[in-house]
Amino acid sequence: MSLSNPLPFKQRVEQGLNDPFLRQSLKNAQARFREGKQRAAQILGNLEEWRTRAEAIRHHTIEHLDYYLDQFATNVENNGGTVFFAETEQEAVDYLIRLAKAKQAKTVIKSKSMVSEETHVNKRLEEIGVEAIESDLGEYIIQLAKEMPSHIIAPAIHKNRRQIAQLFAEVAGKELPEDTSALTRFARHQLRDKFLNADIGISGCNFAVAETGSIVLVSNEGNARLTTTLPKTHVVMMGMERIVPTWEDLDAVLSLLPRSATGQKITSYVTALTGPRRENDQDGPEEMHVIIVDNGRSNALGTEYQSILHCIRCGACLNVCPVYRHIGGHAYGGVYTGPVGAVLTPILEGFDEWEELPYASSLCGACTETCPVKIPLHDMLIDLRRDEVDEKRSPGVERFIFRLFGTAMNNPALYRLGLKMAKHLLKPFADDEGFLNKGPGPLKAWTEERDFPAPAKESFREWWQRAGRYGGDPDGR
């Protein structure tokens, strides 16, 4: 994965902030999803118990990932499938390309897979002359727009009906009505042919059940079923952490996924696939290939960031994040957006392109509070900042200020002196009401949009020493 939006972070943020439609639609979507989740949680009644159980399952699985991956792979092969472990993006795509060439594939139909976004599958297939078509409506829309997903479960959340009608009109070669059902009808017609003619179907994998070697897909459109059954070859691209040990464990995480994502009890389709077509089966693919992708995930194993691999990709953290609401998914620059993206992307890829992401949070903790598998997302953001400081990536001025801070903290007299100096330094900038509307130095950024209070004439500790300790009255307001 590299930057999907090559602009610097600040400009990506600016793009998001200056897109009123995006912001309105994210606001609406968040309100709807949050409400949905709350309602679903109320109906469930004991959400905390479910979270605890799901977290325990995820923790256990990731702790014993090698064991369960082995069990899963063995079972896939016993069912007649093929398993390939890809350590890098390159290995994953090379395998796919070899396969496409061997099958003399012309077209590939895809059902939403974040890992295929992560590994730039569409672009790589295109380079060897294979057409790859996204079959999820949202993914199809952003594919036409040559964009990346901006939400984990609603990838085209940032597009409005008019924009979609324009994108579809280019395909149709004529004007199309800006009407939801007409537009979906058009997409359906377009995609129907693609399903029937595709040589390979590529799907993601929401969960892989180790005990039977099964793939479980969750969708609302039914496109996953067509993708995985119509073409002769089915390729599954999955992150190596998508494993659950048993069907009973699946019940816990699957109960939480749609409830946390959209507030649905269950999605329209939950598909479980165990191997390719068997001898007497009427339909299904002849071959099933499972590409299990690492691509940086093992960076988290055995570290304090390991629990980021617990993530079930529900997008609940995006739905409560105020930063995401204002800047939108594309500002995060990578495939994974919102709080989980801010944590996951630098872990997968290092800080070089992603230095700012850990700072794109006010640390309000809403993400941690909502996460159905209890990943301490905002604490991880702090730890990532610490790693950046340790690697000396933070600005020199900031390092200097915090070094001073440290010295003052070790010496209370110096601390008191610092507070006193601040009072005298800021005094000339204050207005009659005791506020600064144009601050010096680091206060400049603050006072561009906000007033800043001037230090009080008498600090608390001065008052305490003069009067407070003897029971003296406080000053009036």
Partner: protein, 251 residues
């Protein structure tokens, strides 16, 4: 009961009347109050920015300053959460300081949490006319798990109508250095908060963290909205004084 005050750096320097209100309210409810002069900042700015060595320095000084304290009370949910939640992890690998950090963390309370849960005060004799709404600061609500206590205290003020703040669970956009580092995003967040406050038609905004209140007040002032901003303790004490002067004038 002996209570040691941890008056946060912001309150000490910018809002001393918040600390003064805490002193007087605690004394009214039978506490013997002291203020260890060797106290410094809790270290949260450094901690949240990733400077954990500097945060440890601050934490050690604070632990030393309060080593004889029985209870430590602070007018900030955020600083109390910093100490309770992060001090033990800051010293997780330090045999000498780990237990000290935990012992200190265990005796730190946010003001309203201490009033309601330890002193068992949920009602004060106070009056204040107005329509107020309450901002739950993120670190107090989520980090410390305290949200009902300040509201109970506020609701006991006669004449004060307390109305719900829509989307009260949303951050005001302060976030320490976030407000400056990511100022464009922070500004949008505080604007949204201001919008929600205005929607309540409250003329008073109350909170338990001066950092958030400084952010919201700064924006309210810049936009010219006449909403008065109070720390819970401050409004309570103001109300107590009004109540007392009414009582004495009635005699």
């Amino acid at each position: 009961m002996r209570v040691s005050l941890f008056i946060t750096c912001l309150s000490d320097c910018f809002f001393p009347r918040v600390g003064q209100a805490v002193v007087h309210l605690l004394r009214r409810h039978g506490c013997e109050v002291d203020f260890p002069l060797e106290q410094v900042c809790c270290g949260q700015p450094a901690y949240n920015s990733g400077y954990h060595e500097e945060a440890r320095t601050a934490a050690k000084q604070l632990i030393r300053a309060f080593k004889n304290a029985q209870y430590v009370v602070s007018p900030s949910g955020s600083c109390a959460a910093m100490i309770r939640h992060y001090y033990p992890t800051l010293f997780a690998a330090d045999d000498e300081w780990r237990d000290k950090a935990q012992q200190f963390a265990d005796k730190v309370y946010e003001f309203s949490q201490f009033m309601v849960n330890i002193l068992k005060v949920s009602s004060v004799d106070a009056c204040y006319e107005g329509r107020a709404t309450y901002h739950h600061s993120c670190h107090m609500m989520r980090g410390l798990g305290v949200s009902g206590e300040p509201l109970r205290l506020l609701q006991s003020i006669k004449g004060l109508e307390v109305v719900d703040l829509p989307y009260h669970q949303d951050c005001c956009g302060f976030g320490g250095t976030f407000a400056v580092k990511m100022k464009e995003i922070s500004e949008q967040m505080v604007d949204e908060k201001v919008e929600h406050i205005l929607a309540t038609q409250a003329n008073i905004l109350v909170g338990s963290d001066m950092a958030c209140l400084m952010n919201i007040q700064g924006r309210l002032r810049r936009l010219g909205y006449p909403v008065q901003v109070f720390h819970v303790a401050e409004l309570l004490y103001e109300g107590v004084q009004r109540y007392e002067s009414l009582q004495s004038s009635a005699i």
